[in-house]
């Protein structure tokens, strides 16, 4: 398994930043003619986003992962309806950048990476995003991966599988107790 260095991560990202990207659908259509979705996202985009989400929050013994929460579809809805055009652009370009990063690093599309490769790649991108966020001027655009990760977290933990299986969801508590014992390992309340 190839470890991605911080340097490589930056180089890759800089190369992509240098290009003019219009929107993932246009580019993806140009490259590989994927099945068309509606609006800003292609069907393949949703699949990649499901995969990114699942890598960030994978299925475990105790709870399903982000894919089961239809995280790709959720990101599509939120980016389309709630993001301003600047963040939409960052997000959509981010899907391409991530795939480019994958090709440069592993010579494979993100979707074709093994589980550990996906994990390593996203750990590197996450590091890059954190550093970018730390150093960026206030008004500079956000890092695409920060947006993806935030949506993954929000979408998963408010989804039915996330809220009910990873967390504890009690729609009608019936009472409030101020002080109860906490047993290590018990999940947090979902709401």
């Amino acid at each position: 398994m190839k470890k991605i260095t911080r340097r490589e991560a930056i180089t890759t990202s800089a190369l992509v930043l240098g290009g003019t990207l219009v929107g993932s659908q246009v580019l993806l259509t140009a490259c590989s003619a994927p099945k068309k979705g509606t609006g800003l996202f292609s069907v393949d985009d949703i699949k990649i986003l499901d995969e990114i989400g699942e890598t960030i929050l994978p299925a475990t013994a105790s709870s399903p992962g982000a894919r089961e929460a239809s995280i790709g579809k959720f990101m599509q809805i939120m980016v389309t309806d709630c993001f301003d055009s600047d963040n939409q652009k960052v997000f959509l370009e981010g899907i391409i950048k991530l795939d480019d990063f994958s090709r440069t690093t592993y010579n494979k599309k993100f979707m074709n990476l093994s589980g550990p490769e996906k994990q390593d790649l996203l750990v590197a991108v996450d590091e890059e995003a954190k550093k970018y966020c730390h150093n960026k001027p206030k008004n500079a655009p956000r890092h695409y991966f920060s947006l993806m990760k935030e949506l993954t977290m929000k979408g998963y933990f408010t989804s039915e599988p996330g809220a009910t299986k990873a967390l504890r969801y009690v729609p009608i508590p019936g009472r409030y107790d101020g002080c109860v014992d906490y047993a290590k390992g018990d999940p947090a309340w979902a709401t």
Partner: protein
């Protein structure tokens, strides 16, 4: 008088006044209007309640009340198109996908801001009582007397003893949970059992008591923690701690006009509610020297209808009540009904909500709480009680809550994958959040008035708001932030973050004044019974009547004053005085 540009509408006054005549008309169906309706109807007074918004029926019209989080397409967030069209209303506390239908849309209800002022409105039967904050502390005499004692305002024509029995009357009916703590600045009441403090709140309670002699107590909130017969008779049940109140409660666990006072009034068969009825003006009869009725525009058809009654209760919400009376001109009252004192629309205030302090605390990791507290603990006002002990006047209440965040991560921990997900699913460290509710000084310059050239879609002049902060506010915010920081620091909290969010006045949704009560008709609009000094069959008992803002939550005071005034009105009618 109907303005000339409303010639396109039909005036429907030809049907004869008999069928449009009631004993009483209540303008507004919110938290105070509902109380006026209840008290009047219970005394056999045939009452018409006018509401400018649509009808809302308890349970039937709560479309989101039982929705799980994942049933909201944007998980509570509003879309960018909505936010672009509604930058103002979207700022309101509790506003989101689950509650947006109980707030107005910006473009439907314009007003003019001479200074930034966020005017938050909920136009429907029940008004903002559906989406209110539910805090119910009593005012103390410290607040009723502070403006005159410290010379920053007009003396109230009433004292705590005048309203204490009415506080009890209201508390028993609406159901207020809380503890009788014996705090002199926040009198005890008729409370249902309180909700617990959690371990960290108890810790802070003990520390501020020990080191500062200050009182942190359990929330006094309009929740049925243990319903009594009077609540069951209303069809309301126990609060089950969902804490989704603002969507409407399936059990009637918190108080609103639509779950409580309005259906109660309706059972008497003395109540008529007319939704979609915006009041143009109150009709003054120069011969009779009193008000005879109300001019109403149907918001859908724009047909104008006059309704008649012996007494009028104005409960349209503080600023709208001023608007209606400013628009009610006659030869006798050319500057607005009852406005001989020229104070109508003036002395407007609000509550100071700008300051907040957050912090973390180590320890307590083996403790948690069972799900959700629908109330918030209260740190009673500790400023300027017996004497002025600061460089400003007025006091502030502090609301707070301690909670465990979710997901603590160590520096350098891999933030992708299984370990990350597990950590993100666990309760994190304890945090506390405190925020202020401070008194502001009512002054003549803080006012509302009618626009001279702009009108709404019904031909009613737009309201101009000219309400801003002053030096006293800035000093109080600074003091709140310093004192709260100091208390948290001495109680062992760390990473203390004090913040002044600089929000515009109005976003507190505690706008008050415009028709202040006072003993002297030369300097006030209303007497000690909330009657217009110069037109006795008009009562104003919503936030407009406030002579000062105090620091306690005002809604229950409006309810108590309304019940008191309504019972007075009934007596006066019996005596033939009205």
């Amino acid at each position: 008088m109907i303005e000339s540009d409303s010639s396109r509408v039909n005036i429907n006054t030809g049907t004869g006044s008999t069928e449009n005549t009631y004993d009483a008309i209540v303008i507004g169906s919110g938290i105070s209007g509902g109380w006026a309706a209840k008290e009047l109807c219970e005394h056999g007074v045939k009452t018409l309640v006018l509401e400018r918004g649509r009808n809302i029926e308890h349970l039937k019209d709560y479309p989101t009340m039982s929705k799980d989080p994942w049933k909201f397409q944007h998980r509570g967030q509003m879309t960018k198109d909505f936010l672009k069209e509604n930058p103002l209303i979207s700022k309101a506390a509790g506003f989101g996908e689950g509650t947006a239908h109980f707030f107005v849309k910006d473009k439907d209800h314009p007003y003019e801001q001479e200074k930034p002022f966020d005017w938050i409105r909920g136009y429907q039967v029940g008004g903002k009582s559906i989406i209110w904050g539910r805090a119910c502390q009593r005012w103390s005499n410290f607040e009723f007397t502070a403006p005159s004692r410290y010379g920053y305002g007009l003396d109230w024509p009433i004292r705590y003893d005048d309203v204490a029995p009415w506080y009890s009357h209201v508390e028993k009916f609406i159901g207020v949970c809380g503890n009788n703590d014996g705090v002199e600045g926040m009198p005890d009441g008729e409370f249902l059992p309180p909700f617990d403090l959690n371990c960290v709140e108890k810790h802070l309670q003990q520390k501020v008591k020990e080191k500062y002699g200050r009182h942190l107590v359990q929330g006094r909130w309009a929740h049925l923690s243990e319903p009594k017969d009077i609540h069951t008779e209303q069809g309301r049940g126990r609060c089950l701690s969902r804490n989704l109140c603002m969507r409407g409660c399936p059990y009637g666990g918190y108080f609103s006009s639509v779950s409580s006072t309005l259906p109660w009034a309706s059972k008497t068969n003395n109540l008529t509610i007319r939704p979609f009825s915006v009041v143009h003006s109150v009709i003054y009869d120069e011969q009779k020297e009193k008000v005879t009725g109300v001019r109403v525009i149907d918001t859908n058809t724009k047909v104008i209808t006059d309704y008649f009654a012996r007494i009028i209760f104005v409960n349209a919400s503080a600023l709208n009540s001023s608007l209606i009376l400013l628009n009610s001109t006659s030869r006798r009252f050319p500057n607005g009904l009852g406005n001989d004192s020229e104070t109508l629309g003036k002395y407007v205030g609000f509550h100071l909500y700008r300051g907040s302090v957050s912090a973390d605390i180590d320890g307590f990791e083996d403790t948690y709480y069972y799900v959700r507290n629908p109330t918030e603990p209260i740190l009673a006002n500790y400023r300027n009680l017996h004497k002025q002990d600061t460089d400003y006047v007025g006091g502030f209440t502090t609301f707070l809550s301690a909670y465990r965040s979710r997901g603590d991560f160590e520096q350098g921990q891999v933030a992708i994958g299984e370990d990350f997900k597990n950590a993100a699913s666990l309760p994190g460290g304890w945090k506390v959040h405190m925020y202020m509710q401070g008194e502001t000084i009512l002054k003549e310059s803080n006012h509302v008035r009618l626009s001279t050239d702009k009108k709404d879609q019904w031909g009613i002049p737009l309201l101009v708001t000219s309400v801003g902060y002053d030096e006293n506010d800035e000093k109080m915010i600074k003091d709140f932030l310093m004192e709260s920081t100091s208390m948290l620091d001495s109680a062992g909290f760390k990473n203390i973050r004090a913040k002044d969010n600089k929000q515009a006045p109005g976003l507190d949704i505690h706008e008050m004044g415009g028709m202040r009560m006072g003993a002297d008709p030369k300097t006030s609009m209303l007497n000690k019974w909330n009657q217009l000094h110069h037109c006795k069959n008009v009562f104003v008992t919503d936030g407009a009547c406030m002579t000062s803002t105090g620091n306690q939550s005002p809604s229950i005071l409006y309810m108590a004053l309304t019940a008191r005034a309504a019972n007075f009105a009934v007596e006066e009618m019996k005596k033939g005085n009205l």
